[in-house]
């Protein structure tokens, strides 16, 4: 028997023998496509015809086969609906203190609702559109009552997510809202504290200082420079990622960054930096001396000027090589302004005229 089959299939190898095997052949695939389209159209026509005749048969005798009939759908739908409603009511009447048990019960209801939804979707092709719409309405009502039930029974978890939507809804009474706000606070606070402890290496909250860091090898991943006023920052060595946030009147000199630099809210500052990617947001009246492998971008910035990288320290060439930033790509001048999506030059940035540029900046890791 098996032999016979094999010989059969090898006797005409050109003919696609199963669905998936033929997909590599392009013309064959197209042919199949066309034929499938035809078949589908035919099938749809016959289905339409048969459902028409069935419907007329239904009207005079209600003994139509259960397969693909509206009335059988409706009765099945009604059964499921009342069973879900019963489960919901039971959950509401006999609240359990055990949250785990409650959760499994609610999850069970939720899955039976989605089963019902799937059932409607499967049968939707033969149902009158009114029935589809009304069934979907029933399902969304069921979902809503499940939602409100679960937020009643397991309050804390639901709240912080729903908070916004609830605020917009004026129908909710104020007492409930107050409770929710409290719950949000409860959830929100410990998180923040938890992350404040784990601060990444960096310089923060300083005024009028010279801040120097000598970075060795790949010990440092991310580095953060934030909330500085009138400071000079020197980073010698390679880092992976640099975050810069809220600087005023600062000078920032950094060695190669192997990943990306993200700059936000800086004013009146000078940056000398090399990186694979540079994004500049909310910068005002600042100069950027850059070497970038890709195109630097600015967003919501004004009066920012660009020039090529000009930093030097002992061993910088080795670091630049290690970070694949030894080559000058010229991308420092290819700035994309996300607030200026036109062909003409953006008014927000310009190239720093050569005689306004600082010369090569030499930095060492001493404080002088």
């Amino acid at each position: 028997m098996e032999d016979e089959e094999e010989s059969l299939s090898t006797s005409n190898p050109n003919q696609p023998n199963s669905d998936s095997d033929s997909e590599t052949l392009d013309p064959a695939l197209q042919k199949k496509h066309a034929s499938m389209l035809e078949r589908l159209a035919n099938r749809h026509q016959t289905r339409l015809d048969s459902s028409l005749t069935r419907r007329s048969a239904e009207s005079d005798s209600s003994s139509s086969p259960s397969f693909e009939s509206t009335s059988s759908f409706l009765s099945h739908f009604a059964d499921s609906k009342s069973s879900i409603e019963a489960q919901l009511a039971q959950c509401r009447l006999t609240p359990t203190s055990e949250s785990a048990e409650l959760k499994t019960r609610l999850d069970g209801i939720s899955s039976s609702i989605s089963d019902l939804e799937k059932f409607v979707a499967e049968k939707s092709y033969f149902l009158p559109s009114y029935e589809v719409r009304s069934s979907l309405k029933v399902i969304s009502d069921l979902k809503q009552s499940l939602d409100s039930l679960s937020s009643e029974l397991i309050p804390k978890k639901k709240f912080s997510f729903k908070n916004k939507a609830v605020k917009k809804n004026p129908v909710i009474d104020s007492k409930k809202e107050e409770e929710k706000e409290k719950a949000v606070e409860k959830i929100g606070k410990p998180e923040k504290i938890g992350f404040a402890i784990r601060e990444s290496p960096g310089f923060r909250n300083k005024t009028g200082e010279v801040l120097v860091s000598q970075i060795k090898g790949s010990e440092v991943g991310e580095f953060t420079i934030s909330d500085l006023d009138s400071c000079e920052v020197r980073l010698l060595g390679c880092i992976r990622v640099l975050f810069i946030h809220r600087l005023r009147n600062c000078k920032v000199y950094v060695g190669p960054v192997m990943g990306s630099i993200l700059i936000e809210e800086v004013e009146g500052s000078v940056f000398v930096m090399a990186s694979h990617q540079i994004r500049i947001h909310n910068a005002k009246a600042s100069d950027f001396y850059l070497r970038v492998r890709s195109r630097p971008i600015i967003e919501d910035s004004s009066s920012v000027r660009f020039a090529p990288y000009c930093l030097s320290y002992e061993g910088i060439d080795g670091d630049l090589k290690e970070a694949s930033l030894i080559e000058e790509t010229g991308n420092w001048a290819n700035v994309d302004d996300f607030r200026w999506l036109r062909a003409v030059q953006s008014p927000n940035w310009s190239i720093l005229p050569e005689n306004d540029r600082v010369g090569t900046v030499e930095i060492t890791n001493s404080d002088s």
Binding site: M36, H44, S124, S160, F195, S200, E222, Q277, D300, D336
Partner: protein, 185 residues
């Protein structure tokens, strides 16, 4: 209904999936797409607009829409919501300061009705960087446990730089979408 059911069946035949990649800027969306496709990731500019990639993955064809994440263009995300089978939300796990922004944008996205049926994969990217939060911590910050119970979601730690975790994440996504759409196979 007739045409729609035909289209549906053709889609089923070709096993196509439409996947939308979104997330804040600098989270690594484009790098992930290129890495998965085995392309060079050494020079990638911030995405001005969007990229589309068609990738054959297992026996499926993935149409991946990688949409730029800069603030200015986030409002255009909604133009890509229609008919999305899978949603990939990419998080920069090393960017602690903007995690609140990240949560807010994700919350807004999940309210969107047109995305309500899409499977959600959260990629906690940049796990290779020292100081990055673990996927578990990211899940807590984004409050994923409180998500609508009907949503299919998964969080996976990954590094677009080394490629670690990417296949695991996409395996889950493709399997989940397949089990929803192509149950009959």
């Amino acid at each position: 209904m007739g045409l729609l059911s035909i289209i549906r069946k053709i889609k089923k035949k070709e096993k196509e999936m439409r996947i939308l990649m979104v997330g804040l800027d600098n989270s690594g969306k484009t790098t992930i797409v290129l890495k998965i496709n085995g392309e060079d990731t050494s020079v990638i500019s911030p995405t001005l607009g969007f990229n589309i990639k068609t990738i054959t993955y297992q026996k499926y064809t993935l149409n991946i829409w990688d949409v730029g994440g800069q603030k200015t263009i986030r409002s255009y995300w909604r133009n890509y919501f229609e008919q999305t089978d899978g949603l990939v939300w990419v998080v920069d796990s090393s960017d602690l300061r903007r995690l609140d922004d990240c949560r807010m944008e994700l919350d807004n996205l999940l309210k969107e009705e047109r995305l309500s049926g899409a499977s959600l994969l959260i990629l906690a990217n940049k796990q290779d960087i020292k100081g990055a939060l673990t996927p578990g911590e990211i899940a807590k910050v984004l409050n994923l446990e409180a998500m609508d119970k009907t949503r299919h979601w998964e969080i996976v730690g990954c590094s677009a730089y080394t490629g670690e975790g990417l296949l695991e994440g996409f395996d889950w996504l493709v399997q989940d979408i397949a089990s929803r759409i192509y149950v009959l196979d």
